[in-house]
Every structure is written in structure tokens, then in C-alpha cells.
């Protein structure tokens, strides 16, 4: 149980005035980007990342991860009050959250959403606290073949678990790899895919792509849908909070189930969106009165929020331990860590104890602070949403342009941001998942290095991926994941495959 000692040390790192302040700033900004359409956690983090380069890495990561928690909390606010999910992961929250608000029970719905989020996050953090060091110790044995097999598993899981068509997931992923290859090849020094343009020599920065795809792209989609915020009153009476908390123990099964699903979906890159739908679907399936779902059930709010937040939190486990992010936001954070010179992976737990445990401790503190902040400031954020879109939209675009520029102080990046905004609009409308693209863009070079080192060692033979039980079993699981759509197709051909029906949403 040396984790406890290390964790306590982590609290001493996280609990300075400076880091505590960064935590609060992060949470507030996070809720803000969570409630504003067009600004989600991935690009909120991407926009602010360049501004944190002057800060100590631990404080910077604490702030950026708090943006993530804040955004996960914030997504529920718009879902419940306005029937508009602020984040894809809170789509399922609208199903019962908005009906509750219409019945005048918005405060109850918000309280249970936030508390569910908190419980989900807490289970994710507990998982990280106790599992991450063990996995890290195990992963210290990994060589390039094992790492490439794990990358393969990550990418194949997207195909197996993702809700989009496998072909589109693969295409989106490969485009990410293609973009990652642009620029100088780190091994040979040759210029690749620059087509004679000097501007492309330093490659395409993932931050610019994220800001374009998730920022401008989202604004364009939002414009098309013609948003109008006509929300319910958002005041939360303290008495209602305690009354709602008093009723929570009744739903412990739902909470536990959702937390488990969320943790699983977070570690495998299933994503918070898929987790929230599964959480909702299972709560409905196991409920005694499934017909009442969709009309304003507490469980219908608790289940998806718990699962989404558990998944969003545990997505940081593979990121820290293996350097493989489980979600788009985790991918952006990972890119940030690499810029700071903190190479994520098992060695991080050995060499950067202060950083790792400070971050884990800040997850506990950040989520507690987040819960308090959202419970007390909902009216404030709800009133921000009542500002008309014709004021908010240009401001968000200005923020995106500034964010894209500050990545490299390069005007070309702003044009790239616009280009990827248009790409994002088309991809969203055509159901291409964006998370695999971001992930492969961030990991592309590392995956390629692992592959080339493996091939060097094996002199070009792919048999090395079966050379011992460890790498062999990872590769086997990866291939099962890759072929999963085919397997389930055959499966479904026999029986009635109406498992959990959920609308397809790219997360």
C-alpha cells in the first residue's frame, strides 16, 4: 500500500496556494467551455495549452486537467436546462434531464447529474490510484514490439467499440497518421509529404487541428442547427441538494453499474459518449419500470453522467501509464506533456513521482472543488448561455483564432484552423469519428518509431508480434477488436441483435 504514502505526498504537492488557485481557474474555465457550444474540453485544453508553457509543468497539467473535469460537469448543465448537450458525452443526459426540468425539478436533476459525475470521477480516480502504479511496473518490461502491439490494440479498439462505421473510423484514423507523418522524419531527417513547401517542414500541429475540428467545426454545425436557448430557471436550493443526496443510496446499483462501465470504456478507448449511452441503456434495461425512462427519471440522469465522468477520468490511466490516451482530451493533454518534456509511459512513475502523484491528488481535489463550484454557480453559467449566439459565436471564433496563432506564433496555423473547421463540419455531418483522428495524429510518430524499431530488430518479419506470450496476446486481442464488426455481424445474423439501441454520436 505504498500508494497511500505517495498519494499523501501528492496532496502536499497539489495543495499549495498557487496550484489550488490554478485548480479553481481550471474548473471555472472548464465549466465555461463545457456549457458553450463550439467549445468543448479538447479544444478548451488545446487553446490554453500554449499559454501554460511558462508555468511549472505540474501546475499547468493540474489546471488543464481541471478544465477537463469542469467541462464534464458543465456538459450536464445545458443538457438539463436547455435540452442541448454541451458535450457529446452528455447527449444521453438530455433524455431524462430535460423532462425533469420541464416538470420544475431542474434543481434535483442538476444535483443528481453533478453528484453522479462526482461518483463516476471518484471511481475513476480510485482506479488510477491503485491500478496505475501496478500497470506501470508491468509495462516497464515493454519493448518496442509490445508498445506497438498496445498502439495497435488502441486503434483497433476504436474500430471494435466505436459507434461509427468501421470504414469511416479507419479512414479518420489513417488521415491522422498521414498528417502526423508530414514534416521532418525524425529518424532519417528526410522531408516527408511537404510537397516542396517550407511551411510544412515543421509538420501539422495537432493543437491547430483540434481547435479547427472541435472549435470552428462545432460552431458551423451549431449554426446549421439554429440554436436557441430557452431554458428553465437554474437556482439550486441547498435543501434540495440534501434531499436529493438522501435519495441516492436507493440507486446504488445503477451508480455502481455505470461507474464500472465508465471505467472500462475509459481504459479501452470507447470514450465517454459511448459509455454514457451504455450506462443509460443498461439502467433502463435493469429498471423495474423501463417505460418511465425518457419522461424524467432520476436514474436516467444519474446513469449516463456517472458513466461519462468515470470514463473521462479513467481515460487518463492509459495516458499516464502507457502514453496512450483514452479520449480526445486525454490525447491533447498527452501532447502537452510531451511538449513539457514529460514523456508519458511507465518511466514517468519512476522518474517523475512528484508530477504523477501531484496530478492524481489534484484529481481528487479538483473534482471536489468542481462539485462545489457547479452546485453554487449554475445560475451564473446558465445566464451566460442566455447571451444570444450572434454575440457568443464571433467571440468563440476570435478565441479559436488566437488559440491557433499562439501555438507557433504562425499565421498559417490560423488558416489551417479554418480549413480543419470546414473539414470538421463535413466529417461531423457524415458521421466520421474525430477522436481517432486526433489520437493517431498525436501518437503517429511514436507508433511509427515503435514499428520501425520493431522491424529493425526483427529484420522486417512481422512474426515478432507473436514471438512471446505477452506481445502475442496483445496482438491477438487487437486483431479480435479489428475484426469485431465482422464477428458481431455474423453473430447478429443468427439472433435478434437488438442489444442497446442508441443513436450514433461521434465522440
Amino acid at each position: 500500500m505504498d500508494q497511500i504514502g505517495l498519494l499523501l505526498h501528492g496532496f502536499s504537492v497539489a495543495l499549495t496556494w498557487y496550484n489550488g488557485g490554478m485548480m479553481l481557474v481550471g474548473i471555472m474555465l472548464g465549466v465555461l467551455v463545457g456549457v458553450l457550444p463550439g467549445l468543448g474540453a479538447p479544444n478548451g485544453v488545446a487553446i490554453l495549452l500554449p499559454l501554460t508553457f511558462g508555468m511549472p509543468p505540474t501546475s499547468a497539467v493540474i489546471m488543464l486537467s481541471c478544465i477537463y473535469w469542469g467541462a464534464l460537469f458543465g456538459g450536464a448543465i445545458t443538457s438539463i436546462l436547455f435540452n442541448i448537450p454541451g458535450e457529446p458525452s452528455s447527449v444521453a443526459t438530455t433524455f431524462d434531464g430535460y423532462p425533469l426540468a420541464q416538470k420544475g425539478r431542474a434543481a434535483e436533476a442538476l444535483t443528481s447529474a453533478f453528484t453522479g459525475s462526482f461518483i463516476g470521477a471518484l471511481s475513476g480516480i480510485l482506479l488510477i490510484t491503485f491500478l496505475a502504479p501496478l500497470v506501470a511496473r508491468f509495462a516497464l518490461e515493454f519493448g518496442p514490439p509490445e508498445f506497438f502491439a498496445v498502439y495497435l490494440l488502441t486503434f483497433c479498439s476504436f474500430i471494435g467499440i466505436g459507434k461509427s462505421r468501421p470504414g469511416k473510423t479507419i479512414l479518420s484514423m489513417m488521415l491522422g497518421f498521414g498528417m502526423a507523418a508530414v514534416g521532418m522524419d525524425t529518424m532519417s531527417g528526410q522531408l516527408r509529404l511537404t510537397f516542396g513547401r517550407i511551411e510544412l517542414m515543421q509538420g501539422i500541429d495537432f493543437l491547430v487541428v483540434v481547435i479547427g475540428l472541435f472549435g470552428l467545426g462545432e460552431i458551423l454545425v451549431t449554426m446549421e442547427e439554429g440554436l436557441q436557448f430557452q431554458g428553465k430557471s437554474a437556482r439550486i436550493d441547498p435543501r434540495i441538494i440534501f434531499r436529493t443526496w438522501g435519495r441516492l443510496p436507493r440507486y446504488w446499483m445503477t451508480l455502481a453499474r455505470s461507474a464500472l462501465i465508465g471505467c472500462w470504456m475509459g481504459i479501452t478507448p470507447g470514450g465517454a459518449t459511448a459509455a454514457s449511452f451504455m450506462g443509460y441503456g443498461l439502467a433502463k434495461k435493469f429498471s423495474r419500470e423501463p417505460d418511465k425512462f425518457g419522461t424524467g427519471q432520476m436514474e436516467g440522469v444519474l446513469a449516463p453522467e456517472t458513466a461519462a465522468h468515470a470514463s473521462g477520468t479513467s481515460a487518463l490511466l492509459p495516458m499516464l501509464v502507457l502514453g496512450i490516451p483514452g479520449s480526445a482530451t486525454a490525447a491533447v493533454l498527452l501532447g502537452g506533456l510531451m511538449i513539457w518534456g514529460l514523456e508519458p509511459g511507465p518511466l514517468l512513475f519512476v522518474e517523475q513521482k512528484d508530477f504523477v502523484w501531484g496530478l492524481i491528488a489534484s484529481m481528487y481535489l479538483g473534482n471536489i472543488a468542481g462539485l462545489i463550484v457547479v452546485l453554487t454557480t449554475v445560475p451564473l453559467f446558465a445566464s451566460i448561455l442566455r447571451i444570444p449566439f450572434s454575440i457568443i459565436a464571433p467571440m468563440i471564433i476570435v478565441v479559436c483564432a488566437v488559440g491557433a496563432y499562439t501555438v507557433h506564433n504562425n499565421m498559417l496555423d490560423v488558416w489551417f484552423m479554418a480549413l480543419f473547421g470546414i473539414v470538421g463540419y463535413f466529417f461531423k455531418k457524415l458521421d466520421y469519428p474525430l477522436a481517432p483522428l486526433v489520437l493517431s495524429l498525436v501518437l503517429g510518430d511514436k507508433a511509427e518509431d515503435a514499428f520501425r524499431q520493431t522491424m529493425l530488430a526483427s529484420k522486417g518479419s512481422l512474426a515478432i508480434f507473436w514471438s512471446n506470450w505477452l506481445v502475442g496476446s496483445i496482438t491477438a486481442v487487437a486483431l479480435v477488436m479489428l475484426l469485431w464488426p465482422l464477428i458481431s455481424l455474423l453473430w447478429r445474423g443468427k439472433g435478434d441483435g437488438a442489444a442497446i439501441s442508441a443513436p450514433s454520436v461521434s465522440g
Binding site: 479507419i170 479512414l171 516527408r192 464571433p394 476570435v398 473547421g421 457524415l430 514499428f451
Partner: protein
């Protein structure tokens, strides 16, 4: 008179959801070809010391082409062909109403600097799209630019692109 509905249906066919779906994968197919030719030039095979620098991306390009072709085939014969329009004109106008000003705004950043361009962009968008009074629009625009300036030039010490106005003021 008779030619008109036919023309409209032709347009509808070329702007349907699956037509756009197909068009996008044609573009990605070309991207895949471009990736393959450029990396083939660098050497996509095996050199004495190991894989050449085009080895990995060449295969990525190939998968891009295969995936694009597979999706293209689905848009032709798949069971889930979606013939409804990709986007309705009235909705597309809303999208263009923000996209085109954004492009002009980015051009404006290059010519006028980010602060002046942002103020003009926000004020202009509020005035034209939101029908606000021009005084209110101008105030919001200038205030946002001022906050940006304070935040980036003075607090974070991150210089943003500047233009003639800032030069005039001595920045």
C-alpha cells in the same frame, strides 16, 4: 417549363447526403494517392539499415485509398443510402453566414492585426447577423479587443499579430 423540375432533381441528386459522402472519399482517395507517390519517391521499401522513411506512411496511404474505395462502394450500393439533401439551402446560408465572415476575419488579422480585426468582426457580426444597435455592437467589439490586448500583451506576454493601428500607438 418541363426542363425545370428535372434540373432541380439533378441538382438534388448531386447534393444529396450520399453524393457528398462519396465526394469526400474521392478527395481522401486522392490524398491517399498523394501520400503514396510522395513516400514512394522517398523509398517505401527496405534499405540496408532497415525500413526507409517512406515505409510506414506509404502503407498508411494505401489504407487511406482502400478505406476510401470501400466507403465509396457503400454509397453506391449500401443498404443505408441516404438520398435526402446533405444540407438544406436555408440552413447552409446560416453556415455560410458565419464561415465567410470568419475567412474575411482571418484575412483581416493579416492586414490589420488581430485586435482591430477582432473588434470589427465581433461588431460587424452583431450588427448584421444579430441586428444590434451599432453603438452596442461597437462597444462589445472594442471591449473584447481591449480584454484580449490586456490578457495577451500585458499579462501573458504573448505577442499577437499587430497592424498599422498598433504601430501608430507605438507597440
Amino acid at each position: 417549363m418541363e426542363a425545370k423540375p428535372e434540373k432541380a432533381s439533378l441538382l438534388a441528386r448531386w447534393t444529396s447526403h450520399r453524393a457528398v459522402d462519396a465526394a469526400v472519399v474521392v478527395v481522401t482517395f486522392l490524398i491517399g494517392i498523394a501520400v503514396m507517390t510522395d513516400t514512394y519517391r522517398l523509398g517505401a521499401g527496405w534499405a540496408r539499415g532497415g525500413p526507409q522513411s517512406g515505409y510506414f506512411p506509404f502503407r498508411i496511404g494505401a489504407i487511406i485509398c482502400i478505406a476510401s474505395a470501400a466507403i465509396f462502394a457503400r454509397t453506391l450500393v449500401g443498404a443505408h443510402r441516404r438520398n435526402e439533401p446533405f444540407v438544406q439551402w436555408r440552413r447552409l446560408r446560416l453556415v455560410l453566414a458565419i464561415l465567410l465572415p470568419t475567412l474575411v476575419y482571418i484575412l483581416g488579422i493579416q492586414l490589420l492585426g488581430i485586435y482591430v480585426a477582432s473588434a470589427l468582426f465581433i461588431a460587424g457580426f452583431m450588427r448584421i447577423a444579430g441586428k444590434y444597435h451599432w453603438v452596442k455592437s461597437a462597444l462589445v467589439g472594442i471591449a473584447t479587443a481591449a480584454v484580449l490586448f490586456w490578457l495577451f500583451e500585458l499579462e501573458f506576454l504573448v505577442p499577437l499579430p499587430k497592424g498599422p493601428l498598433e504601430r501608430l500607438l507605438g507597440y
